[in-house]
Each structure stands twice: as C-alpha cells, then as structure tokens.
C-alpha cells in the first residue's frame, strides 16, 4: 500500500526514496517547520551561547586567579567594564550573573530540551513531525529575539544585570543598590520571552508523545530519552509560567513602582526566592533529566546490553518529576525561613536522592556483563555517570542542614552545581551530540579528535571543579570579586590559580570540539543509516532523515534496548524489525 507522508510525494520501495521536496530554501532551512531543522537551529544557537558563557567564565577565572591584575588583551574592554584590563567589581557581578543566565537558560536548557527534544521525539516515537509544526517553529523564532535581548544588556548604560542569575530582590529591582537599571529590565524581558518559547515547545512535546506514537510504541516501549523528555516537558510546562509570573512582578517593581518584593510597603524579599525556587528546583531537573535519559540510551548501546531495570528507571524519572516540586526550600535554608520548614525540606531533599541513586546503580548494572564498545559517545556517557555521582553525593552534604550552614553560599555549592550541570548535563550533551551527529548531519565526527577532546576535557574539567570543593570547605564564599580581601582565604589562593589555569585549558580544549563539529559537517565521512548499531527507530531511516521522517509508518514490536538478543545473530534488534512468530516480540522485564 503506497502511502504519502508530508511533502514526500513519490516513494520507491527498496530503500532509496525519490524526493520531490518543493520547499524553498527559506522554508526548508530558516523558517522551517521540520522538527529536525528546528532542532539543528536550536543546536547552533545554544552552542553559541555555550561558547559565550564559557568566555564569561574565563574572565571570571582570570579575576579570581589573578585578582586586579590586568587581563591579557583586557585593555580592549571599555572603561566601564575593565579599565586598563582590570575587571571592575560591578562588571564582575555582571559576568557572574550572565555566565549563569547564559548557561542555564540559553545553553544547557535549549541544548537538552530544544535540541534533543525536537530532534529525537518524533524520530524515536515514529512520528513524521511534531503535533504542531508551526508552533514548533514559533518556539525557536521566539527564542532568538530573547537571546538578542539578553545580549543587548551588555551594551546599555549601567551595564548588564548584576544580581546573580537568581536575581534576588531587592538588589535586582533597585537601581540605587545595584547601579543597574536597563540591564536588569532587559534580563527580565528576555526571560519572559524565552519562557513563552519554552512553554510553546513543551506543550507541543507532550501532545506529540501522547498522541503521535507509532503503532506498537507502548508507553513502556518508549526509550528512556523520550520518557525523560516527556517528564521534562511537563516540568517546563508547569514551572516556566511560575518564573514568568515572578519576573513580571519583578519587572513591575522596577518599572511601574509596585511593591511585591521591596519591603518598604510590605513586599517580601523572601517571596521572590520562594517563587524563583519553586520554578528553580524543577528547573534543576529539567537540566538533568534529559541528560539522564539520553545517557541511558547511549550506555545501553555502548554496553550492547538491555538497560538494567527499565521499569525502575522509568519510575525513577517519574519519581524525580514528582518529588522535584517539593524540595525548593533547600535553596533557602539560610534565608531566614522558618527552621521547622527547613527540616521538612531537608527530608524531602534526602528522599529525592533515592531515585537518583537507583539510576546510577542501574547504569552500572547495564554495563555489568556487557560487551562495552568505547565509542566517543560512550566515553562521554560513562564520564557522565562518574561525574553525576560526584555531584549527587556532594548534594547530600548540602541537604544535611547543619553542614549546609557552613557550606551554603560557598564554592562547595559551585563545585556541586558544576558537577551536576557540567559533569552531568554537559557530558551527556557531548555524548548525545556525538551520538546523533551522524543522523543530524549525515556525516561522522572524527573519532580521533573526539577522543582527544574527551580525555582532555575529562582531566581539565576535574582539575577545575574538584578543588572547588576544598575551597568551599575552607569557607570560600561564592561571587566574591577578590578572595584575597579575606585573611583566611589568602592561604588557598594558589588553589584559585590552579583552577584558573585549568579553566583556560578546559576552554581551549572545547575549541577542539568546535573545530571537529564544524569540519565534520563539511568533510566528515558519510554516515551510514545506523552507524552505532542502535535499536531506535531513528536509525532505520537515512542519515539525515528525509522530510516527514518515515516513508511508511513504522510498526513497533519490542522494547528499545533489545541488545544481544538470543533471537538474532547480530547484537542489536531494532524496535521495528519483525521476527518470525517463534521468537517472542517483547522480552520480559526484570
């Protein structure tokens, strides 16, 4: 039976299809409604912001490692930022704020949700596109002006927002306290716009996953990446409007003189923190759940073995998605919130460690008795497990409220969040980009340079962030411009220098990735349909897949991780391959 899907008008069976894609260049690559193009657009945008966030981090590290010394080539900065190359304290605060904002909202979140949510969901569930392709396009083209608004803040008088990425009121809303007015307003507007983009994206994902799964793609046959993106989309959908509402109130406080967060007429500074973290803690899981899901896919692929405990992995994702709403107060243990409330938040925080631990053990279980292939995505995915473990374990110190009294607001927190966000999310992103790159661009990335990039990143990354734990244990506060102002911090300044030098090397290492990414796009070896011998539906179509993805609607017969199945000679078994009746179509779990 001949089928037409999307714009693919003619089909010849036997593998090669003939395209009659009549769309213009602009419709095809710029204002495209194709989820794959939108995913790639998000990829380019968020990698640019990742680079910019990294640049800001380098300036921060220069100042911390070598306080008040002229930065090499820093003289090109204007005197409102760094006269004579010496970073000013107000610029330092902007750097810290914008590094966080760029990385959280414009790099990691779009990389995970915007890029892989878009690219993987329809392909992996066997759908031709998203449920609402035009809304999907709008989601990207709303994110772009948000990015420009955020960048514009650097060019306005008074400098960019400087109250931290958490923008605690009242510092953030009073120009007389921060010296920043326009920058903070742009920050607010940009995030409101970006929030709209995220909400449009997420309700699209949810609808798509619920309604557009290929026949046979039961809920418990969904790959874990899709499960995690599904729960993430729900978190984005419900958390982003809270942030938007809070930021709108902050913006009104600044511009039209309302009194939500300023104490002068009864407003409450802590209210901002409650609202921000009520969004912010689900946000933390938004930033890690898709990473966990994609790492699960890649680890099962690399280990050539079914994922260990698929059901408990799904339950852990759901558990995190639910418990994640009840732990926001652990960001506020020192805020003056009622200590009894603090105890409750501590208990809920302790409990959320359980699903995370289950996932780590299951990843180990997946590798156990496997036949592990050390391809570049697998290297990154294993580093993800290792680094996420450190980030998870260091979280327990902070969840224990008495210990948190000491380490709250110190570099211990900085170390923890970077172990989760860089060691966790970013390693998983590297794994995912290198894994799905052949599908996205139809070419392979260089495995040699991939390995070089991986090992150097792994080493320098740990040299940068591991010693930060020790700084924090020494009492080193975060967001301080010049640690040598404190006598008790003078002895640890050499650690700061080590971290800074390692950070410069870490940044330089990322250029290897950038070059590999760009060069492979044009010069890489042509990618076959299924270079990693994976089971997912996306690997059953050409690389890159045509518009409309599947020539015929795939029929799904089994769970996504049937590696090394005894029913076939190969060590993989795609979800849509039909086996003779004799072989069971779905292996039992557990």
């Amino acid at each position: 039976m001949a089928t037409t899907i999307g714009h693919v008008e003619e089909v010849t069976l036997g593998g090669a299809e003939v395209h009659a894609d009549t769309r213009s260049f602009v419709r095809k690559y710029i204002f495209s409604t194709d989820h794959k193009i939108i995913g790639i657009q998000f990829l380019i945008m968020s990698l640019i912001f990742l680079l910019l966030g990294g640049v800001l981090a380098m300036v921060i590290r220069w100042q911390l490692g070598f306080p008040k010394q002229p930065m090499p080539m820093g003289g090109v900065l204007p005197e409102t930022m760094a006269p004579g190359g010496v970073v000013l304290p107000e610029f330092y605060n902007s750097l810290v704020t914008m590094h966080g904002t760029f990385m959280v909202f414009f790099a990691i979140m779009p990389l995970l949700v915007g890029v892989f949510g878009n690219y993987l969901i329809p392909l992996k569930i066997g759908a031709p596109d998203m449920a609402f392709p035009r809304i999907n396009m709008a989601s990207f083209w709303i994110a772009v002006p948000a990015g420009f608004l955020m960048l514009a803040g650097f060019f306005v008088e008074g400098g960019h927002a400087a109250a931290g990425w958490t923008s605690y009121a009242p510092l953030s809303e009073r120009a007389d306290l921060s010296g920043v007015s326009m920058g903070q307003i742009l920050w607010c507007i940009s995030l409101i716009v970006l929030g709209l983009s995220s909400i449009l994206g997420s309700f699209n994902y949810i609808t798509t996953i619920i309604n557009m799964r290929a026949p046979g793609m039961w809920w418990f046959r969904l790959p874990l990446s899709i499960w995690s993106l599904f729960v993430t989309a729900i978190l984005v959908l419900l958390a982003m409007p809270i942030l938007s509402g809070a930021i709108i109130m902050l913006l009104f406080d600044q511009t039209i003189g309302t009194h939500f967060f300023g104490p002068a007429q009864g407003g409450q500074p802590l209210l901002w923190q409650h609202l921000f973290w009520f969004f912010g803690h689900p946000e933390v899981y938004i930033l890690i759940l898709p990473a966990m899901g994609m790492a699960s896919d890649i680890i099962a692929n690399g280990a050539r073995k079914p994922i260990f405990g698929y059901t408990s992995m799904v339950l852990a994702i759901l558990g995190i998605g639910v418990l994640g709403w009840g732990v926001w107060g652990h960001h506020m243990f020192m805020s003056g919130m009622n200590p009894t409330l603090g105890t409750q938040f501590m208990i809920s925080t302790m409990l959320i460690a359980v699903p995370s631990a289950i996932k780590v053990f299951n990843w180990l279980g997946t590798m156990w008795m496997g036949n592990i292939r050390f391809h570049v995505p697998m290297l990154h995915a294993m580093a993800f497990v290792s680094m996420f473990t450190i980030g998870g374990l260091s979280g327990i110190f902070m969840a224990a409220t008495p210990v948190d009294i000491y380490i709250h607001y110190t570099y211990f927190i900085v170390a923890h969040l970077h172990y989760v966000l860089f060691g966790g999310s970013l390693f998983a992103i590297f794994a995912a980009v290198t894994f799905w790159y052949p599908k996205m661009f139809g070419r392979m990335m260089s495995p040699f340079w991939g390995r070089v990039h991986f090992f150097l990143t792994f080493i320098f990354y740990n040299l940068v962030f591991f010693p930060m734990h020790n700084l924090g244990l020494h009492g080193h506060m975060r967001r301080i411009y010049d640690p040598t102002q404190y006598d008790f911090l003078k002895p640890v300044q050499p650690i700061n220098e080590l971290i800074s030098i390692s950070a410069f090397l870490l940044f330089a290492t990322q250029l290897i990735f950038a070059v590999n990414f760009i060069v492979s796009w044009f010069k890489g070896a042509k990618a076959p349909e299924n270079p990693w011998e994976d089971n997912g539906l996306e690997w059953t179509v050409p690389s890159p897949p045509p518009h409309g993805n599947f020539v015929t609607v795939p029929q799904v017969y089994r769970a996504p991780y049937e590696y090394s199945s005894p029913f076939v000679t190969e060590d993989f078994l795609p979800q849509n391959r039909e086996l003779p009746e004799a072989a069971p179509s779905a292996a039992p779990h557990s």
Binding site: P72, E79, L88, F154, E157, G179, D482
Partner: protein, 258 residues
C-alpha cells in the same frame, strides 16, 4: 593556546564594550548641548572675590572610626575627623558660591575644559562640597589602595554607581542638567559624603581652607551670589561687578546655622 582563547574571549567582550562607550559619549555630547545651542559668549573680565568667615566656636567634627580600614587610618596621625564644618582661623572652607540671579536670560556660556576633580584620599572626599557646570567633566580619583564606590543620586540627572577598586584609578562622568544638590556617597565607607551643585553657567567657586574664593569671567552687572554650605545652610548677597573689575562679597556663617 591560552592566549588564543583569551584573545577570542576579549574580542567578543570588546564588541560589547565598544557599544557602551559610544553610549556614554553621546550622553556627554548631549550634556554640552545647552552650551552649544546659542553662540556662547566669550568670558568677560569681571570677577567677584571675597572670604567666608565663621563666627563663634565651630561645632566639633565627628570622629571617624577607620580601624577597619588600615590603609586609610595610616594616613592620619591622630583620629580622623569628618570635616563637616571646616574652620581655620575663623575662616570657613567647603562653601559653594555661585551666581544665583542676574545673568541675562537665555545666554549660554562655554563649558570649562578643565575638569572638576573629586579625590578620594584617606577615605574622605576632597573636596567635601563642589560645584560643576552641566556638561563639564567630573574627574573622580581614587588615591587610596582600597575599594571606593561613588554613588551619585541626582533627581534630574542620570544616577550612577561606579567602583574604583585600585589606587590611582580615575573615572570621568558628566551631569547634563543643572541641579541644586547631588549627594555623593561611598557605601564601602558609610561616612564618606560629598555634595555637588550642578549649574547652568561657569560662575562658581568653592571656598578654600582660608575661606577665600574668586568667581571669574563675569560680565559687568548686578548679581545675586549664593553661598551654600551643606550643614550650615545658604546665604545670599547682591554685588555689582564693574566691567573688567572685581567686586567683593564677604559672607559670615555662625554656629547656629540658618
């Protein structure tokens, strides 16, 4: 490798910086606009000179506890005093004197090219009171090896809050609109205060330690001169300046203030 990466990052940030600098230049140009509107009159040769005296026992100036700022404390042999009322030999310093009325309406005057300097030395502002013409450059200097921030909270001009973390830093700012009193403060050292009068014309002076002052460049005419002290209040006096001659105006403040 490291230089390459730093270069890259600086290039990016430089792009941002360029824009900001252009912005502040524009602000300066706008500030000079009233002066450039009509053809500015060349400075005339008349002047007002005089002294500001202080009658009675001056009130004791508050002692400042600089013990947590060793670098500043070291600049004083005795206890550091905040010169709220600076009197020596019966003469009062830090009084801002300026032409209040008498200048022809609509007349504009060239903006002095010399900047007005405010120096942060020994964790105090020098001078503690100053006058500046709208559009004239205010040069802010840090002569201390510690962080100072300069927060100006004008009502009619753009507020600013900038920092100077290192010794020897200078930063330039301008005010665009005349304003009676712009308070200036440092938040790192809560005792540091100064007040700036922003004027539409260049006919102003600040009395020195000996209480003397000279307002130069006035055309012949009768003017009302106002003497303003942040603590002791305001006094006015009418003087007639002959062409290319000097008029005298002596003010006397007393302990009771206004």
């Amino acid at each position: 490798m490291r230089q390459v990466l730093i270069g890259g990052m600086l290039l990016t940030v430089a792009a941002c910086g360029g824009g900001e600098k252009a912005g502040s230049d524009t602000a300066t140009a706008a500030g000079a606009a009233p002066a450039a509107g009509a053809a500015p009159t060349a400075m005339a040769g008349g002047s007002v000179t005089g002294h500001v005296k202080f009658d009675g026992t001056p009130p004791a100036n508050p002692t400042i506890d600089m013990s947590e700022e060793a670098a500043c404390k070291g600049k004083y042999t005795g206890p550091a005093l905040d010169p709220v009322v600076m009197v020596s030999n019966g003469m009062l310093g830090n009084v801002v004197l300026y032409v209040k009325t008498g200048l022809p309406a609509g007349q504009t005057y060239p903006v002095p090219s010399e900047p007005v300097v405010i120096d942060q030395r020994g964790c105090l502002y020098h001078p503690r009171a100053l006058a500046i013409m709208a559009g004239q450059k205010l040069e802010i200097k840090n002569s201390d090896p510690v962080l100072h921030n300069i927060k100006a909270l004008p009502k009619k001009n753009r507020p600013f809050n900038i920092s100077q973390p290192t010794e020897g830093m200078t930063t330039t700012r301008t005010f665009t609109t005349p304003e009676d009193d712009v308070p200036v403060e440092c938040n790192v050292h809560g005792w540091m205060h100064s007040n700036i009068v922003v004027l539409p014309h260049p006919f102003f002076a600040v009395s020195g330690e000996d209480g003397s002052f000279t307002i130069k460049g006035l055309p012949a005419g009768t003017y009302e001169i106002e003497a303003h002290h942040a603590k002791l209040g305001t006094k006015t006096m009418s003087v007639t300046v002959p062409a290319d001659g000097a008029a005298t105006a002596d003010f006397t403040f007393a302990a009771t203030g206004t």
